[in-house]
C-alpha cells in the first residue's frame, strides 16, 4: 500500500532531523576551539522548524493514516517545545563550552530529545507516542551523565536510565494488552474498541490502563514514582536539568493528555480516583520534602514534583460532562505552558549562578540583590509565580485549575481544590527561602557577578512574559482553549 505523505505537516520534524545530522557531521570537521559553532547551527535549525510550524497555524491536517495529526493542540505544544529548545540552547552555550564537554554530541543529543518532544503532541497512535517518548528520554540518559568526571552525574544518568527503561517496559506492556484487546493502535479507534469491552476483558483493559499510567507517572515524576528526579536533576548539567524539568516533563504530560482524554476517556470512572491519588500524593510529597532542601536544583526538582501534582489535578476532574472536561483540559494545558516559562526562568538564573558556584547551594544566592540585581529580581519573580501569587502569570495558572475544580463541583472537586490551595500556601515557605538569601543576606564578596548575556536575556524575556501573562491573560487562556483536542469538546 502506498500512502501519500503530507510533507508540509511533518516539515518541522524534517527540518529538525536534518539539523541533527548536520550538527553531528559538522562537529567532526571543526577545529576544537570552533566546536561551539554547533550551538548557533542548532539554533538555526530550531528557528527554521519554528517558522515551518508557524506556516501550519490555523490548519488541521493529518497524515500517515491519521496517526500523525496537526491541530491546535499539536501546534501549541510544538511551538512551546521549540521555544523551550531556543532557551535551553541559549543556556547551554557558555555552560557546555566552559565545562569542557563534547559539544557536537551534546547538541546532537539535545536536538534529538527535542525532536521527540515536537513529535509527541502530533502522535495520535500508541506506537507513535511510545517512539516519541523514547526519543525524548533516551538521549536524556546520556545527557544526564554528561559531567563524566562527577560521580553524582554518573549516578544521575544511571538512575534515569534504569527508571526510564523500567517505565518504558511497563508502559509498552500495557500498550500491548490494549492492542491485544482492541486490535487498534490509533487513539480514537482504541477508544471505540475499549467501549465495546465488558466482563473479564474490561478488567484486563483496566489493568492495561494502569500499566500505561504508571509508565507515564515515572516520566512526569508523580508520587510514588518520583524518587529519581531530584538525584537526576542534581547530577545533570544545569541546562539539561532545565530540559528535563520543563520539556521532558511537558512532553510526558502532552502524551498523557492525549491518552487519557482521547483513548481512555470512556473508562474515566476507573482512572479518575487513581489520578486524584497521584495528584494529591505528588503535590503533598513535593511540597513537604522541598522545605528541607539546601541545594537549589534539588529544591526546584521537588518544586517541580509539586507542580506536577497540580497539573495532574485536572485529570482527576474528568466526568461525563464534555464542557467540564474541556475546562479541565484547557486548565492543564495553560498550567503546563506557564510552568514552562517560570521554571525555565528559574533554571536560567541557576545556570548563571552555577558558573561560579558549581554546587549551587541556596546559601550561594546570598546577597545576589547586590551582585546581580536583574537575576535576583527575576528569580524572586519566578519563585513568587511558582507559588501562584500575583502579580505574576503563575497566579492565573492556579486560578484556571481552581476554576475547573470548582466547576466540576461535587465533593471530589471541592476537596481537590482545597488540598491544592493548602499546598500552595505551604509552598510559599520554601519558595521564599531563596529570595530571603538574595535580598536579606550579605554577599560573600561585594562585586558584580559575571553573567553571560544569553542568560540575562533569557531571564529578562521570561520576566516580561510572566508579567504580560498576568496583565493580559486573555490571549493566553484563548490559546489554551484552542488547544483542547476536538474529541474532548465533542464529548469523547
Amino acid at each position: 500500500m502506498i500512502q501519500s505523505i503530507d510533507f508540509h505537516a511533518i516539515l518541522p520534524e524534517l527540518i529538525l532531523s536534518g539539523t541533527i545530522v548536520v550538527v553531528l557531521v559538522v562537529d567532526a570537521f571543526l577545529p576544537l576551539r570552533r566546536r561551539w559553532f554547533a550551538m548557533p547551527l542548532s539554533l538555526l535549525g530550531v528557528v527554521a522548524a519554528s517558522v515551518a510550524t508557524l506556516t501550519l497555524l490555523g490548519q488541521e491536517r493529518e497524515t500517515f493514516g491519521g496517526h500523525f495529526v496537526i491541530d491546535g493542540f499539536a501546534l501549541t505544544f510544538k511551538l512551546f517545545f521549540l521555544t523551550a529548545a531556543v532557551i535551553v540552547l541559549s543556556l547551554s552555550l557558555r555552560y557546555i563550552r566552559e565545562g569542557g564537554f563534547y559539544q557536537g554530541e551534546y547538541y546532537f543529543l539535545l536536538l534529538t530529545s527535542f525532536l521527540g518532544c515536537v513529535l509527541m503532541p502530533s502522535s495520535r497512535d500508541l506506537l507513535m507516542l511510545f517512539i516519541a517518548l523514547e526519543l525524548v528520554s533516551a538521549p536524556g540518559f546520556l545527557m544526564a551523565a554528561f559531567r563524566k568526571s562527577d560521580t553524582r552525574s554518573n549516578e544521575a544518568g544511571l538512575k534515569f536510565f534504569l527508571i526510564g527503561v523500567l517505565s518504558a517496559a511497563v508502559m509498552l506492556y500495557g500498550m500491548s494488552w490494549i492492542y491485544g484487546l482492541t486490535g487498534q493502535t490509533r487513539l480514537d479507534a482504541v477508544a471505540q474498541g475499549l467501549a465495546g469491552l465488558e466482563g473479564g476483558q474490561l478488567t484486563m483493559a483496566y489493568a492495561a490502563i494502569m500499566f500505561v499510567v504508571v509508565g507515564f507517572a515515572f516520566k512526569v515524576s508523580a508520587f510514588p514514582f518520583q524518587f529519581w528526579a531530584p538525584d537526576t536533576y542534581e547530577g545533570a548539567p544545569v541546562p539539561v536539568a532545565a530540559f528535563l524539568a520543563v520539556a521532558s516533563k511537558a512532553a510526558g504530560f502532552a502524551g498523557l493528555l492525549q491518552l487519557m482524554f482521547v483513548a481512555f476517556i470512556g473508562q474515566h470512572e476507573f482512572w479518575v480516583p487513581i489520578f486524584a491519588f497521584l495528584s494529591i500524593g505528588t503535590m503533598i510529597l513535593g511540597n513537604l520534602v522541598a522545605m528541607q532542601q539546601t541545594q537549589i536544583v534539588r529544591l526546584l526538582a521537588y518544586s517541580g514534583i509539586a507542580q506536577a501534582g497540580y497539573i495532574l489535578l485536572p485529570f482527576a476532574l474528568v466526568t461525563a460532562d464534555a464542557e467540564a472536561n474541556e475546562l479541565a483540559f484547557a486548565a492543564a494545558v495553560a498550567y503546563i505552558l506557564i510552568y514552562g516559562v517560570m521554571n525555565l526562568g528559574a533554571f536560567a538564573v541557576v545556570t548563571g549562578v552555577a558558573r561560579t558556584k558549581s554546587q549551587a547551594l541556596i546559601s550561594d544566592f546570598a546577597g545576589m540583590w547586590r551582585t546581580a540585581p536583574l537575576l535576583a529580581i527575576g528569580m524572586t519573580m519566578f519563585l513568587v509565580s511558582l507559588a501562584g501569587v500575583p502579580p505574576t502569570g503563575g497566579f492565573w495558572a492556579k486560578i484556571l485549575i481552581f476554576r475547573a475544580a470548582v466547576e466540576r463541583g461535587g465533593e471530589l472537586g471541592i476537596w481537590l481544590a482545597v488540598i491544592m490551595l493548602v499546598n500552595s500556601v505551604i509552598s510559599v515557605y520554601y519558595y521564599f527561602l531563596v529570595p530571603r538569601q538574595m535580598l536579606l543576606k550579605d554577599p560573600e564578596r561585594d562585586e558584580p557577578m559575571p553573567v553571560p548575556a544569553l542568560v540575562t536575556g533569557v531571564v529578562a524575556i521570561a520576566m516580561v512574559a510572566l508579567l504580560a501573562i498576568f496583565v493580559l491573560p486573555d490571549p493566553f487562556a484563548r490559546i489554551a482553549e484552542l488547544s483542547v483536542l476536538p474529541s474532548v469538546a465533542l464529548g469523547g
Binding site: 502579580p391 476554576r403 500556601v425 486573555d474
Partner: protein
Amino acid sequence: MTWENSAITITTLLPLVGALAILLVPKQHDRLIRGLGIAVTGAALVLAAAIAIGFDYGRDGLQYALDVAWIDVIDVRYHVGIDGISMPLYVLTFLLSFLCAIYTWRFVPQPGRPKALIALMLLLETGMAGTFIAFDLILFFVFWELVLVPMYFLIAVWGSANREYAALKFFLFTLFGSIFMLLGFLGMYFRSDPRTFDILQLQQFAQGGDGFSNGFQLVVFGAVALGLAVKVPMWPVHTWLPDAHTEAPTIGSVLLAGIMLKMGTYGFIRIAIPLLPYGAQKYAPWIGLLAVIGIVYASLACLAQKDLKRLIAFSSVGHMGFVMLGIATMTEIGIQAAIFGMVAHGVITGMLFFNVGSIYDRYHTRAIAEIGGGMVQKMPKLAVTFAFVSIASLGLPGLAGFWGEVMALLSAFRPNEALGLNVGLFRGYMVAGGIGTILTAGYFLWMLQRVNMGTLPDRWRDEALDDTTTVEWLAWVPLLLLIVALGLFPRLVFGMTDDAVATLVGFFGG
C-alpha cells in the same frame, strides 16, 4: 476615555508607574529618588482629592465607573468604580502613602536602599487603593494579593531583629485565609445565574428571590469570612499582627495599620454581607462575640506589654474589634460606625506608629522600662503629640476616636432585629465592649505615665535627643489636624457614607 471613566484607574495605577520610573533612576541619586517618591504620591493624592471633590454626594450608586472585559474566557471584567463607602478609605490610602513618602525623606531604616523601599511602597499603594475600587471579585482578589509581596519585603528587609519570622508569618497567615476566600468567590461565580464575578450583579442576584441557597451561603460565608477575618484581624487569627507590626519599619506599620487592616473590614461590608446576607445573619452573633473577645483580650494584652510598639499593635486588634462589632449588628448605624471607625483608626493608629517610630529613632529601644519616663522633659513636642494621639485613640469625645466606638456600642444596643439578631445577646456585647473602652483608657494612660511622665532616667539626661524635626512635622500635621477635624465634624465621613450605607443596608433588609 474621559476623565469620568478613567480617573480612578489613572490615580490607582500612578504609583505603579512611579515605582517603575524610580527603578530606572541610578541609586546614587538618593535625593532624586526620595523626591520622586514624594512627587508621585503627592500627585496621586491630588488626583484622589480631585476625585473626591468631583464626586456627586447626592447621587446613589457607583461613580467614575469603568467596566470593560479583561479576561473573557473566565468572565473576569475590569470593573472599577467608587461610591460613598469606598471614598473615605480610598482617599485615606493616598493621604497616608503621601505622608509616608515625606517621612522617608529623612528616615530610611537599616539597611538603607531607599530606592527599593520607595518602589515597594508605591506598589503597595496601588494594591491597597485598587482593593477599594474593585467591583469584580477576581479583580478585588488580585489587588488584595498584590499587597502581600511588597509588604513581605518591607518587613523582611527593613524590619527589626525578628523580621524574617514576622514577615513569613504575616505572609502565610494572610495567604492561607485568602485562598479560602478565593474558593468562596469561585463558588459564588458558579452558583450565580447568569454566571458573573461582578459584585453589583451578584448583589442584585442575592437580593432577588432566587439568590444563593441557605446552605450554600453558610459554607461560602464561612470561607470568605475566614479570609477577611485574618486580615482584619479578628481574634483568634490575629496572632500575626503583633509580630508583623512590631518588626515592621515605621512606614510599614503605618500602612499596615492605617490601611491594610481596613481591607478586611471593607471586604465584609462590600462583599461578604451584601452578597451572602443569610450567611451573614447566621454568623453575625458569632462575629459579634469574636469582636468583643478581641476588644477585651486586646486591652488586657496591652496592659501586659513591655514593648511600646507591640502595645500599639495590640491596641489595633481592640479597635478593629469595635469596627467588627458595628458590622455584626447589621444595622445602618453600625455600619456607619464601622466605616468611621476604620477611617479614625487609620488616622490615629497611623499617627501612633509614626510617633513610636520617632521615639525608637531617638532612644534606639522600644522597651517601655528602658525609656523609663520623662519624655516631656527631654522632648516636649514629641511627648505632647504622643499624648494627644494616645488620648484620641482611647476615644476622648471631641477627637476622631470617639465617634466610631460610641456608635458601635450604640448600634449593639439595638441590633437588626428584623434579621433575627438577639437583642439581649448584643446588649451583653455592648457591656463587654464598654468594659473594653475603660480598659483601653487604662492602658493608654498608664503607658503615657510610664513614657511621658516621671523623672528622666540618668542615662538619657546627657544624650542629645532631638525633638520633633521639620520632616516629621510635615508628615504629622495633616494627621493631627484630621484627628481634631473628624472629632468635631464627623460629617466629613458620614456625609460621604450616609446614602451608600443606607442603600447597602436596604439590600439585606434593614
